[in-house]
Symmetry: C2
Subunit: 618 residues, 2 copies
């Protein structure tokens, strides 16, 4: 490759980056930013975080040799530059499209994506595992975890850090410090990081580096020499007494995350230490795109319909999230016991209204879903009525806390499960298809799944005042779809639409509208209270010769299977057809997902027609 | 109460403790220790940890007024002294018996048990929730979390700490620092704590306290006065720059945890600060009982059969844990790729053999089940074959990591699920009844449930070499029970014992032996590979008119229900009876549990007889 014509287009391997001079690197960064902005504005995706890591991605690939060195991007929503640098430039236009480039890291997509990502705070644990595997193999390469300060509010990151600090391998943890998680970062640790970030007094820097290196056997001396002769490395010095040094890491930083040569010097120093190193990098979320720099929260995630106004509330306008948030405000106006809890998702779950009206009763606990549930159980035991709003797929983190801390002692908490069902373009890691199977194993739980905003509010009220123990109200990503006349009864239990048919179609949640549209020669049973199933539901179902169950969630362990086992106990022996996905679900638009898994009105119609010929069963 | 005749017997309320003088307190502590030792030697239970917290419990109840002040014991296995001081002296002989005093904290047992406990690292989150509830109510009482250094290796504790440090309420976190979790504590954080523990230089203590108090509005001055006039409070001073101060807490310590007056002074100072305070207390695990002081690990948990020799290996002699540990060694001898991971349960899960034979490949990650799975997935992605041995109920912490970090990208990890099924005397929080329902929701998983040691090894080998993605091998607490002749075929799939009957009894795991003993006029199908169910199993089952399914685990979402839904799809319409517990299961001996839930041979016989009259179905 001729260095003079370097561009993303003709970059065949990230290894070529090391041959570029600084001016070329900077030009490349500009090109990367252009590509990210253009693609995200078109396809949707994460913008601010990806603009913040452009120089970091370039520096990492200049210093380390992926895939021999393992680069692990926490969450993965800041890895677009990494993707553009590692052979995915040509396909980048398919970002978040069905069959296209993932918005997160996927090892099946590229050997340069060392570990799957999507959920927060996993990178240190994964990198440590890989670093230990390399140590055992005598492989001298590095495992590099890149993790934001937001992800550090998750306990898993701390578990990894705690385990890593005493280890003896080539692990490098890069803190991508932008002072944001998704909204403004919260918690004591964030405050602590910021206190370091702001510090410009590199006390006695040179001596300190030399001292530590002098005490590092074998490699110390050569590195000392490198550092002594490197001007900018002197800026990336060992800061005095940080929490990370207390945890057993060598601490380097803070580094200017938009200065490639400063980044490189620090990463090269880290690489040579051959022990766990913590590199603190300051970045600006949205860097290089003024609107995003000014309001990074608004540009955290851009929906696929393109560029929207500079308003963080826009994200959730006319959505179940917004409806839940506003309903909670109305309920809280009448009941001072109601509190709201979020795990760093104030805007995304519609809780900003509650937060501004009732700041005393609003708790953003950080990306800490385990803690959120146990904390909510504590609030409940203290006489409060907590509402924990959380994405379905992130609630998976709370399984033990739901059982152990809340359910056994019947702490009355209400979980608002947002993004329940398909989540569309985010793909496998974000699909809300496991909350039902997971929660159905929790003794004493009550689960509601409303189909409309009105029903959502009714279910929330019912969950607060007419259930005990753990209750969950689940609602989909996006807004209300079609609403119908007669069928659109508001209920917290069920609605049966009878037309004297011998076949019954059963469903719940968003897809019920498709079911109403598709049902021919079928009575329709809309479930709202999913669990536990009431005797009345069983009596209704038993009357039919054929039951068609539709579920926007994992078939295995879902309501469809559960209802069948209950019906069997009541002597039902009729036909029973379940339509629901099994296994993980890749990225695609919501409509594509629904259609692929038989949950569009059209596909439902086809199922009704085919099944009348008795070809498929359960 | 006459102070002169104070004893546990005539203590009617913990409030009376504040009237005792030091000599009386010490006498009481002796009495508490006697009671604990006597009862644990008889009933089994946790010994070392409870002997270490006697003075702490006395001091807490002298300074705080439970239940108005909320005392939350993390894990709860160190709360026996607290129990004896709060109205449970008379019943203490029923410790861990059916219907008796719990070995952990149970709010339903006493208003002084402010929050349920059993699993580690929950106390800060729960206490913070309660402290916030009190703040909102204008209630000036305190929430006090007592948490060991071992529990601090769990990310949940850190999530709580991170959220608490920036809060503004009456939360006090007491670190019970004994340098042990269950075995020797591990991790960087433990090392860090120990570095503080050893420090005796209380630099410029008095001034530092005064400075902080001078800067604490309103309450600062009066406390300053109290501290200035209190001699021993001067010892419990603010230590310079700890991680906890970085996190936003006031730090007091380290305090001698066996010196009541020093403890009291520190707790009183903490109480008066009215902001989050971290009190670092040094205790000796096993204090006051020489054998336990010398080897606290061996006396961590005493089995109910009474006092056993001073050997940590005794815990697991002739048990599935030991069998798993030794089988792993044999497999590892032939395959250097095999690694072992434990979450602070080296001895309890039988991994001590592996640890001593293959120290390089052994990883104790602390009480960090989330990290353990993601770390193992990292090892797997690095080409290793990790075996994570963990108690069934603790694996609940790893649900998201199993799905997100391991299963989606098909990282090949093998989970050894110990204590699968009833756990007996530990009660609700420790029952291994949810792992099957939980794991059955994980796409692509393979689950084995061997009945004998031989089968366990075969299943482990099969899991390593003949499955991909996540595989689990589950085995019960305790040892092999009865073994039979012909029926005792070793298989990793299933064993069918045919006698030409029209009814089939199906079961798996430990209870299969009871089933063999009970089955009359029944063919018996022993499942070993539980999931996914093979076509062959469905073909076999379809041949029978009646199926009796027995399951030592949650009925809801279990194999019994799953098999039924699969059979239904194949056209099965015969009788199907499930015998399995539903809901939480209280403490009792293993035999009592099995009998209560219809899983003893006798009860199984009764079920076979009753069901022939067609009275029960599913």
């Amino acid at each position: 490759m001729n260095n003079k014509e370097i561009s993303l287009k003709n970059l065949t391997s990230p290894h070529e980056l090391s041959r570029l001079d600084m001016r070329q690197c900077e030009k490349l960064c500009g090109e990367i930013r252009e590509n990210i902005i253009r693609t995200v504005m078109k396809n949707g995706g994460h913008l601010s975080s990806n603009l913040g890591t452009v120089e970091l991605a370039v520096a990492i690939h200049r210093v380390f040799r992926s895939p021999a060195d393992k680069i692990i991007w926490d969450v993965g929503h800041q890895a677009y530059a990494h993707k553009l640098l590692t052979g995915r430039y040509d396909d980048f236009g398919t970002l978040r499209k069905k069959g296209g480039i993932s918005g997160f890291c996927r090892p099946e997509e590229s050997e340069h994506d060392a570990f799957i990502s999507g959920h927060s705070s996993t990178s240190i644990s994964a990198a440590l595992g890989m670093a230990e595997a390399m140590r055992l193999d005598g492989d001298k390469h590095h495992a590099v975890a890149v993790i934001g300060d937001g992800a550090f509010t998750g306990g898993l990151a701390y578990e990894g850090l705690n385990n890593a600090g005493k280890s003896n391998n080539n692990l490098i943890v890069i803190l991508n410090h932008n002072d944001m998680s998704i909204s403004k970062n919260v918690g004591a640790f964030a405050k602590y990081l910021t206190s370091i970030r702001g510090n410009t007094a590199y006390i006695n820097a040179k001596n300190k580096v030399e001292y530590i290196l002098g005490n590092t056997p074998i490699v110390g001396e050569p590195i000392k020499k490198v550092i002594q002769t490197s001007k900018s490395a002197l800026k990336s010095v060992l800061y005095h007494s940080t929490m990370f040094e207390d945890m057993g890491f060598v601490y380097l930083g803070p580094i200017d995350g938009h200065n490639i040569s400063e980044l490189e010097d620090a990463l090269r120093a880290a690489k040579k230490l051959r022990r766990p190193v913590f590199v603190h990098v300051n970045t600006i979320k949205g860097k290089g795109f003024r609107p995003a720099e000014i309001n990074p929260g608004a540009f955290h995630a851009i929906p696929s319909c393109g560029y929207r106004k500079n308003n963080p509330n826009n994200d959730i306008k006319d959505s179940f999230s917004e409806a839940a948030g506003k309903a909670l405000c109305r309920l809280a106006a009448k009941d001072s016991k109601i509190c709201a809890v979020t795990a760093a998702m104030k805007y995304a779950t519609g809780l900003q209204y509650f937060a501004s009206e009732y700041p005393e009763r609003f708790f953003d606990v950080g990306i800490a879903e385990q803690h959120a549930v146990t904390f909510a159980a504590g609030l409940a035991k203290g006489g409060r009525l907590p509402f924990f709003a959380v994405y379905s797929s992130f609630l998976q983190r709370s399984y033990d806390q739901i059982i152990h801390d809340a359910s056994i002692d019947r702490a009355h908490i209400v979980i608002g499960i947002d993004r329940a069902g398909f989540s569309g373009e985010d793909g496998e890691t974000h699909q809300g298809i496991f909350d039902v199977p997971m929660l159905l194993t929790v003794p004493g739980i009550t689960v509601f799944s409303p189909s409309t905003y009105k029903e959502l509010e009714l279910c929330m009220e019912t969950a607060f005042y007419r259930t005990d123990g753990v209750a969950a109200v689940r609602y989909p990503k996006g807004g209300e779809t079609l609403t119908f006349g007669a069928e659109d009864t508001v209920s917290y239990a069920y609605t049966l639409t009878k037309n004297g048919n011998r076949r019954l179609a059963v469903g719940y949640g968003r897809i019920i509208h498709n079911l109403y549209a598709a049902a021919e020669n079928c009575d329709v049973l809309k479930l709202v209270k999913l669990y536990p199933v009431e005797e009345e539901i069983l009596r209704i179902c038993k009357n039919y010769d054929e039951i068609f169950f539709f579920e926007e969630g994992s078939r295995r362990g879902g309501i469809g299977e559960y209802l069948l086992t209950e019906l069997y106990g009541k002597g039902y022996r009729g036909k029973y057809f379940i339509t629901a996905p099994d296994g993980f679900i890749g990225q695609a638009s919501m409509e594509e997902c629904l259609d692929e898994y038989g949950l569009s009105a059209e596909k439902m119609k086809a199922i009704f027609n085919n099944c009348s010929e008795d070809s498929i069963e359960t």
